[in-house]
């Protein structure tokens, strides 16, 4: 089974949260290439200059400096080339308004960052098996 690994773009400003994801990848033996952007603007730049090769998925935090996750999502959906991207929101915000806005921008999922790392690992594992299942163009 020759599978093409999906590229993961993590848009996250918190150093520890980035480490969190990296560690969780290691724990779950996820070998997908991981690209990191520290805010929405940086992520857009990376996508537009094709630094992140297709196929890719995006893991997105909401609360970030310069351009937050929702603003980034809007830009992505308005961009002819990028609008088909699968985006998973992974945030601490439990606000109904944020969830509603995110789903209105066609996110593939909205995941609350759990407080404990162990739970986070299992969330990432679930995500991994999910995007493995999905067929991509």
């Amino acid at each position: 089974m020759s599978e093409k690994l999906v590229n993961v773009l993590l848009v996250e400003d918190d150093e520890v949260d980035i480490m969190n994801v990296q560690r969780a990848f290691k724990k779950n033996s996820i070998t997908n290439p991981l690209f990191i952007a520290r805010n929405g603007l940086e992520a857009l730049e990376m996508l537009r200059t094709e630094q992140v090769p297709f196929p890719h998925i995006i893991i997105l935090d909401i609360n970030m400096p310069k351009m937050n996750g929702l603003e980034f999502l809007k830009e992505v959906r308005d961009d002819e080339k990028l609008k088909s991207a699968s985006v998973f929101v992974m945030t601490t915000s439990n606000e109904d308004s944020d969830k509603l806005k995110a789903y209105n921008l066609n996110v593939a999922g909205y995941i609350l960052k759990p407080l404990s790392f162990e739970k986070f690992i299992s969330s990432v594992a679930t995500l991994n098996s999910y995007w493995k299942l999905c067929e991509r163009p």
Partner: protein
């Protein structure tokens, strides 16, 4: 112009008109009375003029009878006629006021007096002397020759009679004139009275309709606006350019609405800020916490042989981090009560309690007794769920018996539903009954029982937001019972702050 002034003026005008009607009526009836009296007087004059004529005829008849018969007895009508003439003339002189008629009367009298002196009295005197002596006879014969046979006497009488006739005719005309006047006066009075009364009625109706319409229309506008305000739409105004009592009310209402609108917008702004604050708290305060937690876990993972002291400290650190997270969640939940409009749902309380007790009891040795008779309510289900789950989980969590028992009870009151949650736990001493409803108040050190102390504060806030009340009855060692009321009336979701202000108005 003031409204009261307008009303007074309108009614004053109507009353004035009626006063005029009455005054005219009295005056006109005076006129009628005068006319009637004049007419009656003219009638009297006519009667007496007839009497006068009859008296003159009587005197003439008396003279003629005496001349023919030479018998003094025939003079009787002459004398009675004279007497009657005097009486009637006196009365007529008193009654007749018209100067022309008076002249006519005078002419009649002077002609008659002339006839009496020159004919009647002379005739009688000459006839008497002729009867006494032959010498007188010649004179008498001569007299008869001159006056009677030539018809001079008759001429005089005829002229008197025609004069009387003329006099009577005039008097009849005068009488008719008065009667005519009277009729005219009466018709005029009637017309005047009817037209003024009609005018008053029309005027009164117009005033009533116009005033009533104006007042009720404006009052309706005010009522509509007040209704809008009561429903929570503060951006309304009544347009009223008049200058009276109602416009004062409208202006005050406008000012009130503007003020309410301002404070409401302010409140909304503050609520938004508070929401923003809650968002910041939930996200920004929890992010570092999560990082600390993760780092602690990694340290524990990365150190192969951890000193048990370090390991314990790291565990404690994680425990505190978790507690901090719970405290943040609790304070968020507490601050959210009443700030969010929640859906009103119709649901069975029995089902709700089943759900709650199932989720709480599942892994514990506890019994929750739910009564059979429970109502179906239409209210914010989420809020009642919050109340019951907090009370029931507290009852089990802080229970010191091996077999915790929780009893839920229900009693229907007039205006509200009364529930209680009772346990067989350690009970709470009276001294702490007020304290336990405070934010972050716990009965035991947080280390013994991991708790935030926000549960009862949330319960109390939810119930008070719904205009209900909660009370505890408990003694140490005898368990506790929390009794709360939940109003039956569906209260629309209140924005905190201005609800109390509205009630005060």
């Amino acid at each position: 112009m003031k409204l009261v002034t307008k009303i007074y003026l309108s009614f004053g005008f109507i009353i004035l008109t009626f006063a005029v009607v009455t005054f005219m009526y009295v005056r006109q009836s005076d006129n009628v009375e005068k006319d009637v009296q004049e007419a009656l007087r003219a009638s009297d004059v006519q009667t007496h003029a007839e009497g006068l004529e009859k008296a003159i005829i009587d005197t003439e008849t008396g003279i003629r009878g005496f001349q023919l018969s030479d018998n003094e007895v025939f003079l009787q009508p002459y004398y009675s006629g004279l007497k009657e003439y005097k009486e009637n003339l006196n009365l007529l002189q008193k009654l007749v006021k018209d100067p022309q008629q008076r002249l006519r009367l005078q002419a009649i009298d002077s002609t008659y007096q002339h006839w009496l002196q020159s004919f009647a009295e002379r005739s009688v005197a000459l006839q008497r002397s002729a009867l006494k002596s032959e010498a007188g006879k010649a004179d008498y014969e001569q007299f008869l020759q001159d006056f009677v046979l030539t018809g001079a006497g008759k001429e005089v009488i005829d002229s008197i009679r025609s004069k009387i006739k003329e006099f009577e005719e005039k008097e009849r005309k005068i009488k008719n004139q008065f009667l005519l006047n009277m009729n005219e006066t009466m018709v005029f009075t009637d017309d005047l009275a009817i037209s003024l009364t009609l005018l008053c009625m029309v005027l009164g109706t117009i005033v009533a309709v116009v005033l009533g319409d104006a007042i009720s229309k404006r009052l309706r506008e005010i009522a509509t606006m007040a209704g809008e305000v009561a429903e929570g739409h503060f951006n309304v105004h009544v347009i009223d350019n008049k200058d009276d009592e109602i416009s004062q009310v409208s202006q005050s209402l406008n000012v009130m609405a503007t003020k309410l609108n301002n404070s409401f917008s302010n409140l909304q702004k503050m609520n938004k800020e508070l929401d923003q604050f809650a968002y910041v708290v939930s996200h920004d305060l929890k992010a570092p916490l999560r990082a600390i937690n993760s780092l602690a876990e990694w340290i524990q993972e990365d150190l192969p042989d951890v000193d048990p002291d370090i390991s314990r400290n790291l565990d404690l650190m994680q425990g505190r981090v978790k507690r901090m997270g719970n405290l943040i969640d609790g304070i968020l939940e507490y601050s959210r009560i009443g700030r969010k409009e929640l859906p009103q749902v119709t649901f069975s309380v029995a089902k709700l309690l089943d759900e709650i007790s199932e989720s709480i009891v599942s892994n514990q040795e506890a019994t929750v007794n739910i009564p059979e008779e429970l109502p179906t309510l239409t209210t914010e289900k989420i809020l009642l769920h919050q109340v019951f789950s907090n009370l029931i989980s507290n009852a089990i969590k802080y229970n010191d018996k091996p077999q915790p028992i929780v009893n839920v009870g229900y009693k229907e009151q007039d205006a509200f539903h009364e529930f209680f949650v009772e346990d067989n736990g350690p009970g709470i001493p009276k001294a702490f009954h007020d304290r336990i409803f405070g934010v972050f108040q716990t009965m035991e050190a947080r280390d013994t029982k991991e708790s935030t102390g926000i549960g009862l504060a949330i319960v109390k806030k939810v119930i008070e937001e719904k205009r209900g009340s909660i009370a505890i009855s408990s003694e140490e060692g005898k368990g506790s019972r929390f009794t709360f009321s939940w109003p039956k009336q569906v209260v629309p979701a209140q924005q905190p702050g201005y609800s109390s202000t509205l009630n005060a108005v």
